[in-house]
């Protein structure tokens, strides 16, 4: 190219002028207003710093703790916990602290994109929001016009509180009920079991009032569904009040490490220990007192109004063979330990029993949680101060969501159809890990449009490689929209990308469980405006619905949230949104225990259609349930929705109100519906079929999480990933030496579906016979820190040269098949049998 001279510059300038004069449309118009400066005085741009503190809420994980964002000159500079929050007491975790980098992540997606070239080729073209929303709307409209709105599949990874309510509502307004979630890979077995027993889901542990903390397979000090708000209470209880903490785990988690006692337990055998502990307590009569009192409210036999003595006799009979010696053989935990811990748990009151993913990510998953409920119940450690309580969260009002009739594609969301392998009797939270398999099974034409919101089906589910094959197939999924903040392993296979606002750029009302049992109302508000063209998916769905001709009272999620907050009782009187924006949190100061003891006014059973079901002991509105006279409560579809009250003695009680499953208002330790499904009505140990004939060299593969990562959304956060950049497989020295494996060696891990390569960490913290691999790492796509995909030319990151890791980890989902627990269909993450060898 020639040098610019005065002469050719002039020609260039004149031509440029002509170009600009030719059209307004092409001029850059980012700046508005007129330049106003004081001439005659030197210009100097202002340097005054303006720092604001804005209450909001975290979203790095589902715990969603209240926090404060510090914004300096429009730039988010620091996040800290909200001291006014009764949940968090001013604390957020490492991931929360690191969250601010997600806004400014150089690998963020900031514009809507459309795929160019073959799916998965990574070639894209920016499109306008108008085009993006237009494209999605016209595809949905076509389905609506054809009378097949259900061929629009909406699948989300995380959509909670107002995001869940609004986005879910807008999706349903389009007419589809084909909605996928992710609870099936999270903890749904717990929820299903709780729905069978005490109705509703989520147990909270009242740590502040407890005297004993017994933990099974929950790494609650590092990571948890309700992590920091519980974790900081645990450590205060332990150190300040001397509350004993005992942890059973397959490996030395940080939680195990900090416990007064760590008891290693073989994979998938927690249920055996629960059963044996229950037997010890029954045999030693330790149910007497609080346990007996609570058993009044439990159903332990076919008869709901059986005497407590009969209930105990029935339990003793059922538990007769579940001896500590039997459990010791299965679990590897000495019988004497089982007995001792059972006695400690039953006699140190009140006590909490925290059992989480470890025990339930197994073949017996749902029944294991039922066994846990029995243990809590017979010791009276239920819904009372210091025990396992029915969780309480904020109950927000919602601005109006358009009502719509929906249709849903069958045999997709709940596992395989009845009679086939991988079909489940109680998939109350669905089997999301099976969705891609089910789409493949049903074949082309099942769906026309799929939207993944904050969801990475490729990475988050088992059988990783097959997931890629399925999402690549344009016949099975003709049009895929991914709405996310970052480019990821699944976005890579989308046809259109809608860049989502990060949680630091959006509005929500929030309602995560409050460990104090009070129920904290709190909000999230934008700390900064969405970067680039990023846009809250809530706003997008409102626009889609509006474009379909359906009216809403709001145009944005921000408006929806503020309207809802302003109409919520309690918060409204405190000052509504204005109050919440300033303070971030509100509560009514009342702790909620013993919800089941609430009496129901007699007028409730006099309402039209309410009948009494003898078998269940339940008053229900059979008319509203469209039941015929004499129809059984247990056997009528969705009868639980019309539950009114339970009769106990001469009292009419709210009881343990059912949700998703037709149960009585008793704590149903003995379950009619489970019996009707062909299983034992009481929790029953059935060995996992795939583990029956394990050879001497077979090992159990278990997965876990570490304190500085969330499952799959934090790996491009440099501060977190530099601490945990890859995921070595933990293996005990005994197993390692048998196989000639040294610390740091490359190894191969083979399961029934695939073989993966990774590196070994030989450690005494691993359990013999087990290999433990965390499931955060091993991204193929995603940003530079997560996957090593860096800027093409020159430097664009001062930390680029400081990236001290070359290996980005290896994802265990490569070798883990998608299989569900026998009752609820919950993904059996920790049930895989593998062979391990040196590579």
């Amino acid at each position: 190219m020639a040098q610019l001279t005065r002469r050719n510059f002039m020609k260039f300038a004149v031509a440029s002028g002509a170009v600009l004069a030719a059209g307004e449309g092409m001029k850059s118009k980012a700046l508005a207003g007129d330049i106003k400066t004081q001439t005659g005085r030197d210009f100097s741009p202002t340097t005054k710093k303006e720092r604001k503190a804005i209450p909001s809420a975290c979203w790095q994980c589902v715990s969603r703790d209240s926090m404060i964002g510090f914004v300096e000159d429009g730039r988010l500079v620091k996040l800290e916990g909200q001291p006014k929050s009764i949940r968090g007491n001013g604390h957020i975790c490492a991931r929360g602290q690191a969250g601010l980098t997600s806004v400014y992540d150089p690998d963020r997606i900031l514009h809507p994109m459309k795929r160019i070239g073959p799916r998965g080729s990574g070639q894209w073209k920016r499109i306008s929001w108008d085009e993006a929303v237009g494209e999605l709307t016209s595809r949905i409209k076509k389905l609506r016009d054809a009378g097949t709105p259900e061929k629009f599949l909406y699948h989300y990874g995380r959509a909670k509180a107002s995001s869940g309510k609004l986005i879910g509502g807008m999706v349903k307004a389009t007419g589809t009920g084909s909605i996928g979630n992710h609870t099936g890979v999270c903890e749904s077995a717990k929820w299903t079991a709780q729905e069978m027993t005490w109705g509703g889901h989520f147990d909270n542990w009242d740590i502040d009032n407890t005297k004993y903390m017994l933990i099974f397979g929950s790494n609650i000090l590092e990571t948890h569904t309700n992590h920091m708000s519980v974790a900081h209470r645990i450590m205060h209880a332990k150190v300040d009040r001397g509350v004993k903490m005992v942890t059973f785990d397959v490996r030395m988690s940080n939680t195990a490490a900090k416990s007064d006692e760590y008891i290693p337990i073989k994979q998938g055998t927690d249920m055996a220990v629960f059963l044996a502990m229950t037997k010890v307590i029954l045999d030693k009569g330790l149910y007497k007192g609080a346990g007996e009192e609570f058993l009044e409210y439990c159903k332990c036999t076919e008869k709901h109004d059986d005497s407590v003595a009969n209930k105990i006799a029935a339990l003793k009979k059922h538990y007769a063979n579940y001896t500590p010696a039997w459990a010791a053989q299965i679990s590897g935990v000495p019988a004497s330990t089982i007995e001792r811990i059972a006695v400690e748990y039953a006699t140190t009151k009140p006590a909490v029993l925290i059992a989480y993913r470890g025990p339930v990510t197994t073949y017996n998953g749902t029944d294991c949680e039922r066994a846990r409920q029995v243990l809590s119940s017979i010791t009276g450690n239920v819904d009372a101060p210091g025990t396992n309580c029915k969780a309480v969260g904020a109950g927000w009002s919602s601005a109006a969501i358009p009502k719509a009739k929906t249709k849903k594609v069958k045999d997709i969301f709940d596992g395989a159809p009845k009679g086939e392998p991988e079909s489940y009797p109680f998939p109350t939270h669905h089997a999301s890990h099976q969705v891609l398999d089910r789409i493949k099974a049903k074949g082309p034409g099942t769906f026309d449009v799929a939207v993944w919101y904050c969801y990475t089906p490729v990475f988050a589910n088992g059988n990783h490689m097959r997931n890629i094959e399925i999402v690549k197939d344009e016949k099975l999924l003709p049009f895929v929209v991914s709405c996310d903040t970052s480019y990821g392993d699944s976005t890579h296979y989308a046809d259109m990308i809608m860049p989502d606002a990060t949680y630091l750029e959006r509005y929500d009302w929030e309602d995560m469980v409050d460990p104090t049992q009070i129920g904290e109302f709190y909000i999230r508000q934008a700390l900064v405006k969405p970067l680039g063209e990023a846009r809250d998916f809530g706003d997008v769905m409102i626009e889609v619905v509006n474009r379909l001709g359906i009216k809403t009272d709001y145009k944005t999620k921000e408006e929806y949230v503020k309207m809802s907050v302003d109409m919520t009782p309690g918060v409204k009187e405190a000052g509504g949104w204005a109050y919440m924006a300033k303070h971030g949190v509100w509560n009514d100061g009342k702790a909620k225990f013993y919800s089941y003891k609430k009496e129901v006014p007699a007028s409730a059973i006099k309402e039209d259609g309410v009948v009494y079901d003898e078998q269940a002991g339940v008053y229900w509105n059979a008319k509203k349930a469209h039941a015929k006279p004499g129809d059984s409560y247990f056997k009528t579809k969705n009868a639980y929705k019309y539950y009114v009250a339970t009769k106990m003695g001469n009292k009419l009680l709210a009881g343990f109100k059912p949700d998703k499953i037709n149960k009585s208002g008793y704590m149903e330790l003995w379950s009619q519906v489970v019996k009707d499904a062909g299983y034992n009505a009481l929790p029953e140990w059935i060995p996992a079929p795939n583990q029956k004939n394990m050879g001497p060299n077979d090992m159990h593969l278990t997965t876990y999480k570490v304190c500085v990562q969330t499952h799959s959304r934090t790996q491009n956060n440099k501060w977190l990933t530099e601490i945990y950049p890859n995921n070595h497989a933990w293996i005990n020295p005994k197993d390692a030496s048998k196989r000639g494996i040294g610390d740091g060696d490359k190894i191969k891990v083979k399961s029934s579906i695939a073989e993966m390569e990774t590196y070994a960490h030989v450690t005494e913290n691993a359990q013999p016979g087990h290999i433990h691999i965390s499931h955060h790492m091993g991204h193929y796509q995603y940003g530079r820190y997560a996957s090593g995909k860096r800027a093409p030319e020159g430097r664009d990151d001062p930390d680029d040269k400081n990236i001290h890791w070359k290996w980005h980890g290896s994802h265990p989902n490569q070798v883990i098949p998608n299989r569900g627990d026998r009752l609820g269909g919950f993904q059996r993450w920790n049930d895989t049998v593998v062979q391990v060898r040196k590579a």
Partner: protein
């Protein structure tokens, strides 16, 4: 948000960044010097019973200072001992010890080795006069650095037996007679926050009250109470790191379970002690 509070010498405020924001907005001057009552002696107490290795402190420090990748001002070390099934694991948070220095000299090794330790401004804190330097000790015990004075000889990195100092790729030295282009970084006890009456970032962030910061000279402060309760200053051999080095650390560990007995590193070897001051989970 909450109002700016004046520094409490008793306990540096718990409230954290809410105050920081207000303080920054109003440009509140350093109010540490309450001349009449004498200067504080800042100290840090780490309660090993409470640390769960969650790294909230580590990351909070990263974001407070935008610490470059691969460098840390605060780290957690995981300590493992024993064999399955009775293996044990514990966590030792580490930071700059803000050493008082040898009891006779009162000069910590990093300051002693700094050729520019006294080349800065004359300052006064309370009634005490002192001079800043490239690496210097403030009368309240903080070991601070001034990169305008640093020549990049890195002798302080060499001198620190704990390996807590690092070459900072984001600090470009300006002195014409500098030896190297890059300066160094280290924990400052969050001097910028403390001087405004706010506790250090890591202390604010720690969910489990593992970390306490305050004035040893004030018998009513939390650190003084903890020091007294656990006799932390009486048995430095058990409550500080590398007691034999005679550096008189002012980071004390409450360690009833003897975790520190299981924690060691080759501090004589520079490469190894610097490598030890990294945060990594395997």
């Amino acid at each position: 948000m909450s109002k700016t509070k004046k520094v409490s010498r008793r306990d540096v405020l718990k409230t954290g960044g809410a105050v920081a924001a207000a303080a920054t907005v109003t440009g509140m001057p350093a109010s540490i010097a309450e001349a009449a009552t004498g200067n504080p002696r800042w100290a840090f107490v780490v309660d090993l019973r409470r640390c769960v290795g969650c790294r909230t402190c580590t990351i909070s420090c990263k974001s407070e200072f935008n610490v470059p990748l691969g460098r840390w001002r605060a780290v957690i070390k995981t300590v493992d001992w024993g064999k399955f099934p009775t293996a044990r694991r514990a966590f030792v948070p580490r930071l700059c010890n803000h050493c008082a220095g040898e009891s006779d000299t009162g000069v910590p090794p990093c300051v002693e080795k700094c050729p520019e330790a006294k080349s800065g401004k004359r300052m006064k804190l309370g009634n005490e006069r002192y001079r800043t330097g490239a690496t210097y000790k403030r009368p309240d015990g903080m070991i601070l650095v001034d990169m305008d004075l640093c020549i990049g000889c890195y002798k302080c990195i060499d001198a620190c037996p704990y390996g807590v100092r690092y070459v900072d790729p984001n600090v470009k030295l300006k002195r014409p007679d500098r030896e190297k282009d890059l300066g160094i970084g280290k924990c400052t006890f969050c001097e910028h926050r403390v001087d405004q009456g706010i506790e250090p970032s890591c202390v604010q962030a720690c969910p489990h009250e593992t970390r306490s910061f305050g004035d040893m000279n004030d018998p009513g402060s939390k650190v003084s109470k903890l020091i007294k309760e656990f006799g932390l200053d009486k048995k430095r051999a058990d409550t500080t790191l590398l007691p034999d080095e005679g550096t008189m650390p002012h980071v004390f560990y409450i360690d009833p379970e003897g975790v520190l007995d299981h924690y060691s590193f080759d501090h004589k070897n520079q490469e190894k002690r610097l490598a030890e001051y990294r945060d990594n989970i395997i």
